[in-house]
């Protein structure tokens, strides 16, 4: 039951074109940085992404379950596809059910996407808590990134502003979260569907400049 291979923070914000989600690509094994290029953002349907903080294997199990759900939609073939909000609700029920059996899936999950009624970001966790909001962060991000997002987020941010905000948060998390890396991945869900970037290294060089001014440590 306790998590073994784990992922750290995930950030998600709504912006003008849709939703944007970011996470680093590290899955830790306790204090070992075990899998340094693992994607923690998963596309589950044409308009929805799932991301996790917590146990990696539980997330893999959950992703498969949600993918099966979407596949079943495809077989029924009646033009109805599960919306991100419905996936979120389903996940919340599953998580609560598991916790009630004292067998939790040890994750905090973010469901983010877009459908006919608008954009959606939902959160559910190993206790079965369920809520949704315009922006969200899990893991250490909830402590370190959320205050930054709360200050700088606007509903009509364009892509560049949204990206800038997320990268700033990712930098802070890399500097302070001992279970993170500078290798990150971004995803967005817009009218063009789901796009997940290749992992890339966030630029932290400029920030280490201050090191030169440090004397005596």
């Amino acid at each position: 039951m306790p998590p073994i291979t784990t992922g750290s923070s995930v950030l998600a914000i709504k912006y003008a074109d849709g939703v944007m989600i970011a996470a680093d690509t590290l899955v830790s094994y306790g204090s070992l940085a075990r899998f340094k290029n693992e994607s923690r953002l998963k596309k589950v349907s044409e308009n929805c992404i799932l991301a996790f903080t917590g146990d990696h294997s539980d997330f893999q199990y959950i992703s498969e379950m949600i993918e099966d759900e979407i596949e079943r939609d495809r077989f029924i073939d009646d033009g109805v596809v599960r919306s991100p909000a419905e996936i979120h609700s389903l996940l919340g029920r599953i998580m609560y059910h598991r916790r009630s059996k004292m067998e939790p899936l040890w994750d905090t999950l973010i469901v983010a996407g877009r459908d006919a009624s608008g954009t959606f970001i939902g959160n559910t966790d190993l206790q079965g808590t369920v809520f949704s909001d315009d922006f969200m962060a899990t893991g250490y991000g909830a402590y370190m990134a959320l205050p930054i997002i709360r200050k700088k987020w606007r509903a009509d941010m364009d892509q560049q502003a949204a990206l800038g905000l997320l990268e700033e948060c990712l930098k802070v998390l890399f500097f302070r979260d001992a279970r993170s890396t500078a290798n990150v991945q971004l995803a967005k869900v817009t009218a063009d569907g789901v796009q997940i970037t290749e992992p890339y290294r966030i630029d932290q060089e400029a920030y280490w400049e201050f090191g030169r001014q440090v004397v005596g440590i």
């Binding site: 029924i76 609700s89 029920r93």
Partner: protein
């Protein structure tokens, strides 16, 4: 229809490849008083004539809501209809609980169709003796379906079941061009007129004996007696 040696069991085929017990079950809806459903581009109306056993007895309810967005009208064995209504309500509520959203009506009906089909294939079971008209409005728009003891279900623009329902169907057929663009009120009047065609010569529609429900983007609603009366007078 006459008896033959292959009709005593639902699990026995006739040499012509028919299941007579299922066909007999499909006859039961003809015993019920007439129900109609009609669907425009924006709304669905269910209308039914209610029967009572006599002047001292209340009218037998024919239309039931299943969820806030859909409902049914039943023709045939009312007790079977109540059981199916209970099933549909539970399924709709289950969907709300899990997905926090209204169940797509087609999926609801297909579940019922599968349940009905099972009773055509199990020794000792009898098929349901009721046909339903299921109507409502979901994320795909207004939808109207008919279910049948055989386990088949059909989607319609207009349908009628029950005693002398054929005249209602002919009425809808003659007026089919009007249906799609009808307003809510026009649709109700079409349904009333369809019901009228099924009455015997000396019979007439009275507000007390009619049940009407309308489904649109704002949900499924059974009209109160006052609202039905207003349509009568208006």
């Amino acid at each position: 229809m006459f008896r033959n040696q292959y009709d005593s069991d639902v699990t026995t085929y006739s040499p012509q490849g028919r299941l007579h017990q299922v066909e007999y079950a499909m006859e039961s809806q003809k015993l019920g008083s007439v129900i109609t459903g009609v669907r425009s581009n924006t709304h669905v109306v269910l209308a039914a004539i209610k029967r009572s056993s006599g002047p001292l007895c209340s009218y037998h309810e024919k239309i039931f809501d299943v969820d806030s967005h859909c409902g049914i009208a039943l023709a045939g064995l009312a007790a079977d209809g109540r059981g199916l209504c209970r099933y549909l309500r539970r399924e709709a509520m289950d969907h709300q609980y899990v997905y926090n959203s209204e169940v797509p009506i087609e999926r609801l009906v297909l579940g019922l169709a599968d349940k009905s089909q099972q009773r055509t294939q199990i020794e000792g079971s009898r098929p349901y003796g009721v046909s339903l008209i299921v109507g409502g409005h979901d994320r795909t728009g207004p939808r109207l379906f008919q279910t049948c003891p055989s386990g088949n279900c059909y989607e319609y623009y207009a349908c009628a079941l029950g005693q002398r329902a054929q005249s209602a169907m002919s009425f809808f057929d003659r007026n089919k061009e009007k249906i799609a663009e009808s307003t809510e009120a026009e649709l109700v009047r079409l349904a009333f007129d369809a019901l009228r065609t099924t009455l015997s010569e000396d019979g007439d529609l009275t507000p007390a004996s009619i049940s009407v429900a309308i489904a649109g983007a704002d949900g499924f609603k059974k009209l109160s007696d006052e609202e039905v009366l207003a349509f009568f007078q208006g």
